[in-house]
Amino acid sequence: MTSSADRREESLAIIQAMAHQLLEVLEEETRCLAERDHGALLAILPQKEALARRLSESLRPWAQAIREGHREPDENREVWTDLKETLRHIEARNEANGRYIEELIQIHEELLSLLVPHTYGHGAQKSLPAVKGYGISTEA
């Protein structure tokens, strides 16, 4: 028969493994972004999403317990410390990747706005007059 503490410990170990796996996926995402390996990037996105969702769901009861005033689990402090550290790494890595993706999108939006003036929009807007020579200049 498994005790409650054992079950919690086991559950914590599973969450820890999941967090490590997510960190690895995020590191792979960094590599894909840096090497512009868009095929591989698309392939790992579902895995990343699924892992993140599962991790978030698994952590919810623990977070709830700590919010309600329960102490952090004593029975496996090392695992808990490692998990918290891994979660910090996940957050930092995800933020770095997200910032890079945002910047890439911004560049492409700016590039597109040079080619296609913003003439679409809701409301009673008059269409903009055609601007001559509005495009990428190839001369200095």
Binding site: L33, R88, A92, R93, A96, T138
Partner: protein, 452 residues
């Protein structure tokens, strides 16, 4: 001018045009390896026709101007990405160097010294009268102090190194800003509304690219081909041909300010005491200011450990010995750089004293935000590792972004030897054809003369 003379004139102009085009092609080929060179092209336009008996008769072609193949959008984006890449690369470089002082393999370093220290107290708790146990506590205490002193000294040296590097950066920035202002002047003097000073513009772009490694800026085209350079917050760095800012740093590794000499505008600031880190520069210079702040935070964390050790042991001695002859750590030296043992660290020993001292290992301390000494040191190591890893990831991505944008820029502006060879053959054929036109026309003129 009509007739054969006109044909001769057209042929001559075509020869001259082809010569300039071949010269431009060879100029491109010669600069093919220069990444800051933008490919040039000699454009021709149709010469104005004249009205003859048969109507408007074409008069050949003339050179219009020599243009550069540039994309302002990509260049601007590339310069920004270059600044970002330099920022994260510098943060990574500096923090990685600092990490070596704070990293711990378990056998050496602060964590190991602290563990040995607690182990020695544990042994003393088992045998309070044992002289070897007492000697071990003193030795491990001294080793812990040495370890804290050395780490603090290494961090101090790192900060001094950052200040030296900052001064070097500022001197390079000032020189580049003056160069850009001077090039603005040369470009303004050389350009006409039609003719661009292409090669001077290349030199200016090269200076801008170098500048982008040191700080982040934006540019605005001024009159007469000049380029004005501003910091992100709008502080002018170069204005037309008149002004180039001079950045100056005052202070030392504890507190410094970087400001514009002429206006006194503050662009970056660091103050260890007030925990002020202001970076309005970005690029590698801003990164140094940021790294200075991070290193200082880690230094503060070390000082907190030192202070907690001194205060913790003082409280233990006060509690257990009531009126101790002396304390374990010198209570006047509460920072990591100065912490040391007193001349008589163990005025008396007892099991109670050893156990009370040992309890400090795991006791949450208010001075350490509720963490124990060991936890606080572990957290410091983790923070250092995380900061370095985060900077490394950002550096990798930003470097990739800069490379990507530079490659796109090169696609527009770079010299393709294949294309230049095609151009060369085309102009060579054009030259030969024009020469043939002249030769045939001269023969016809001679025939006409002979007829007279």
């Amino acid at each position: 001018m009509t007739g054969l003379n006109a044909a001769l004139e057209i042929g001559k102009n075509a020869l001259l045009n082809a010569q300039v085009q071949i010269q431009t092609t060879s100029h491109n080929v010669a600069n093919a390896e220069n990444p800051n060179y933008a490919r040039q092209k000699a454009l021709t336009v149709t010469q104005g026709a004249i009205l003859g008996r048969a109507g408007w008769i074409g008069m050949g072609a003339r050179l219009d101007r020599i243009v550069q193949q540039r994309d302002a959008f990509l260049e601007d984006r590339y310069l920004k990405a270059s600044s970002e890449a330099a920022y994260y690369d510098t943060v990574k470089r500096v923090l990685t160097a600092v990490e070596t002082y704070l990293s711990d393999d378990g056998d050496t370093g602060l964590n190991a010294a602290l563990n040995d220290f607690w182990n020695a107290w544990n042994a003393l708790a088992q045998n309070p009268e044992g002289s070897s146990e007492q000697a071990m506590v003193l030795e491990c205490g001294a080793a812990l102090c040495r370890s804290l002193n050395e780490t603090a000294e290494q961090l101090r040296q790192s900060r001094d190194g950052i200040v030296t590097e900052l001064n070097d950066n500022l001197s390079a920035i000032n020189s580049l800003l003056s160069k850009i202002r001077d090039l603005n002047g040369q470009i303004q003097r050389s350009e006409t509304p039609t003719f661009m000073a292409n090669d001077l513009r290349d030199q200016r772009f090269q200076a801008l690219e170098e500048l982008s490694k040191y700080l982040r800026f934006r540019t605005e085209e001024g009159t007469g081909g000049t380029l004005n350079v501003f910091l992100d917050d709008g502080t002018p760095l170069v204005l037309f041909t008149e002004y180039a800012a001079e950045l100056k740093m005052t202070g030392d590794a504890e507190s410094f300010r970087i400001h514009i000499q002429e206006t006194g505008t503050l662009v970056a600031q660091f103050d260890a005491e007030g925990n002020v880190v202001k970076d309005g520069l970005k690029g590698s210079t801003g990164a140094l200011v940021t790294a200075m702040g991070t290193t200082d935070t880690w230094h503060d964390a070390l000082d907190q450990i030192a202070a907690a050790l001194v205060t913790g042991f003082k409280d233990v001695y006060d509690d257990v010995l009531e009126t101790p002859e002396s304390y374990f750590f010198d209570t006047d030296k509460t920072i990591a750089a100065e912490i040391r043992l007193t001349d008589n660290p163990l005025p008396s020993t007892s099991n109670a004293l050893a156990r009370a001292a040992l309890a400090l290992e795991t006791e949450p301390l208010d001075a350490l935000n509720g963490l124990s000494l060991t936890q606080h040191l572990t957290q410091l190591s983790q923070n250092v590792g995380l900061a370095v890893e985060s900077a490394s990831a950002q550096s990798l991505l930003q470097e990739s972004m800069a490379q990507q944008l530079n490659a796109q820029r090169q696609e527009v502006s770079g010299v393709s030897l294949d294309e230049e060879m095609v151009e060369l053959i085309k102009h060579q054929q054009l030259y030969q054809a024009a020469a043939k036109v002249i030769r045939q026309t001269a023969e016809m003129i001679q025939t006409a003369i002979d007829m007279v």
